[in-house]
Amino acid sequence: MARRQHPWFVAGLSLVLTLVLALVPLPRAISAFRPDWVAVVLLYWSVTAPRRFSLLTAFWMGIALDLLSGSLLGQHALALLVIVYIAERLHLLIRVFPLSQLGLTVLALLGLYEFILFWIDGVAGVTVPLTERWAPPLTGALVWLALLAFFDSGRREAHARF
C-alpha cells in the first residue's frame, strides 16, 4: 500500500490557513510585500498534486477572497481560475522543469494573476495605485519555491522519474 501523499484534511487545512495568512495584518512597511497567499498555495497544489483541487476549489477560494476584501464578486475568483487552469494544463511540463525555470513560471503566473486583478479594477473604475504592484508576485514566487523545498523535496525526483 502506498502512503497517501497528503490526506484530505491536510490539504483543506492548508486552504483555511492560507485565507488566515492573507488576512493577518502586517506592519505598514512590509504590507506591500505580502505574497498572494491563496494564489501561491493553489499553484503549489495544482503543480504537485494536480486534480487534488478542482477548478471549483479555486472558484470558491476566489469568492471567499472577494467577500473578505470587498472587491467585485468574482474578481479574485476569475484571476485564480485562470492561473490554476494554466498550471493544471501545463503541470506535466512544469514538474520536470529545473528549479530556476519553475520559479520563473510561477512568477509569470502570479504576475498574470496580479494583472487580471488590476485590469478588472481598471474596468470597474476602482482607483488603485499602480506602484507597489510588482512586489507580491516576487515574494509569492519565493514563497512558492520555499514551499516546494520544504514539503516536496523527496517526491519531486520520484515525479520526475514517474
Binding site: A2, R4, Q5, V16, L19, V20, A22, L23, V24, P25, L26, R28, S31, A32, R34, A49, P50, R51, R52, S54, L55, L56, F59, G62, I63, A64, L65, L67, L68, S69, G70, S71, L72, L73, G74, Q75, A77, L78, L81, V82, Y85, E88, R89, I120, A124, V126, T127, V128, P129, E132, A158, F162
Partner: protein, 295 residues
C-alpha cells in the same frame, strides 16, 4: 508488478472536461462581476455568503484582541496610575467644555428658532470595534464588528475622538465594511472652519494625506486651517473635524491651487470608532416637516 504504487489522480467528478469547466466557471465569474458592478441584487447574496467568512475574520482578530487583553491585565501599577491621572485631567477638561456646550446649545437652538431654521438634533452613536483584518493594501478599507443586527446601514458616518474617520459601504449581518476618508475613491464635503469656504476633500490612498483639488488660486486657505465636515451630501453631519491643511502650493500658470491636508483622526491607529446615526433627517419644526413631506 503492474499494480500502481502511487495513487493516481482522481479523474474529474463531473462529466465536463477541464477546459469546459474552466469556461463555465469563468462565465459565472464574469456575470457575477457585471451584476455586482451594475446592480444591488448581488448585495443580498454577498450578505448571506459573508456570514460564512465572518468566523475567519473573527479568528484572525482573536489573537490581537487577546494580546490587548493580556497587556491590560499585566499593566504595571505605575502606568495605570499615570493613565488614571491623565484620564482624570482629560475628564475635567472635557467636563468644563461640556458645561459651556450645554449653554451654547440652548442658545443656538433659541437663535435658530428666531431665524426660523431647522434645529440641529443630537445624533445617536454606537461604539464599534475595528477588526484587525487587512487584505488589500491598495484600498483604505476595514471591517467593523457591527452589522445589520445592530441597525447599521450603508452610508453611515464613522467618527473617532479626533474627527471624521469614514463611512460604511457594505453591511453584512454581523460585520460591516467601511471606507476611510483617505481611500482614493472617497470624498468628503468640507468647510474651512475659519471662514466657511466650502470645498471637497478627496482621499489619496495614503492614510496621512487628503487632497483638496477644487480650490482656486485665490481661495482664502492657509496652512493650519481646520477643515470641518460641511454637512452637504448628507452622509457626514456638519461640524466634525476632518483635517488640517498642511500644504498650499499656488502656481500662477494653473487656475487651481494644490492643497494637501492631514486627517484629524488617527486613521491607522484606531481600534474603536463611533457609528453615527444621522439625525438631520428628523425635522423639529412643522415647517421643515412640510418641506420634506412628499406632495
Amino acid at each position: 508488478m503492474a499494480a500502481p504504487v502511487r495513487t493516481t489522480p482522481t479523474p474529474a467528478r463531473s462529466g465536463f472536461s477541464v477546459g469546459v469547466r474552466f469556461l463555465l466557471l469563468s462565465l459565472v465569474c464574469l456575470s457575477l462581476m457585471i451584476l455586482d458592478h451594475r446592480d444591488q441584487h448581488v448585495e443580498r447574496v454577498r450578505g448571506t455568503l459573508s456570514v460564512v467568512v465572518d468566523p475567519l475574520r473573527l479568528l484572525v482578530d482573536l489573537p490581537f484582541r487577546g494580546w490587548a487583553d493580556v497587556r491590560e491585565n499585566f499593566a504595571s501599577r505605575e502606568t495605570l496610575v499615570a493613565e488614571n491621572e491623565r484620564l482624570k485631567r482629560d475628564q475635567l477638561n472635557a467636563g468644563l467644555r461640556l458645561q459651556r456646550l450645554a449653554a451654547l446649545e440652548t442658545e443656538n437652538a433659541r437663535l435658530r428658532e428666531l431665524l426660523d431654521s431647522r434645529a440641529r438634533v443630537g445624533s445617536r452613536a454606537l461604539v464599534a470595534e475595528i477588526l484587525a483584518v487587512d487584505l488589500d493594501p491598495y484600498r483604505q478599507r476595514f471591517n467593523l464588528n457591527r452589522g445589520l443586527v445592530d441597525g447599521v446601514y450603508v452610508g453611515q458616518a464613522l467618527i473617532d475622538a479626533q474627527g471624521v474617520v469614514g463611512q460604511t459601504v457594505r453591511v453584512g449581518p454581523f460585520t460591516t465594511e467601511a471606507l476611510l476618508i483617505t481611500d482614493a475613491d472617497h470624498a468628503v464635503p468640507v468647510a474651512v472652519n475659519r471662514n466657511g469656504v466650502r470645498t471637497i476633500a478627496v482621499g489619496t490612498g495614503d492614510s496621512g494625506r487628503l487632497r483638496l483639488p477644487y480650490l482656486t488660486n485665490n481661495a482664502d486657505v492657509e496652512v493650519g486651517d481646520l477643515l470641518v465636515s460641511s454637512g452637504l451630501g448628507g452622509v457626514f453631519p456638519a461640524g466634525y473635524p476632518v483635517g488640517r491643511i498642511t500644504e498650499v502650493t499656488r502656481r500662477p500658470a494653473q487656475s487651481f491651487a494644490e492643497v494637501i491636508a492631514e486627517p484629524a483622526s488617527a486613521l491607522d491607529r484606531d481600534r474603536e470608532v463611533l457609528l453615527l446615526w444621522n439625525a438631520t433627517d428628523a425635522p423639529s419644526g412643522s415647517e421643515a416637516a412640510s418641506l420634506t413631506a412628499p406632495k
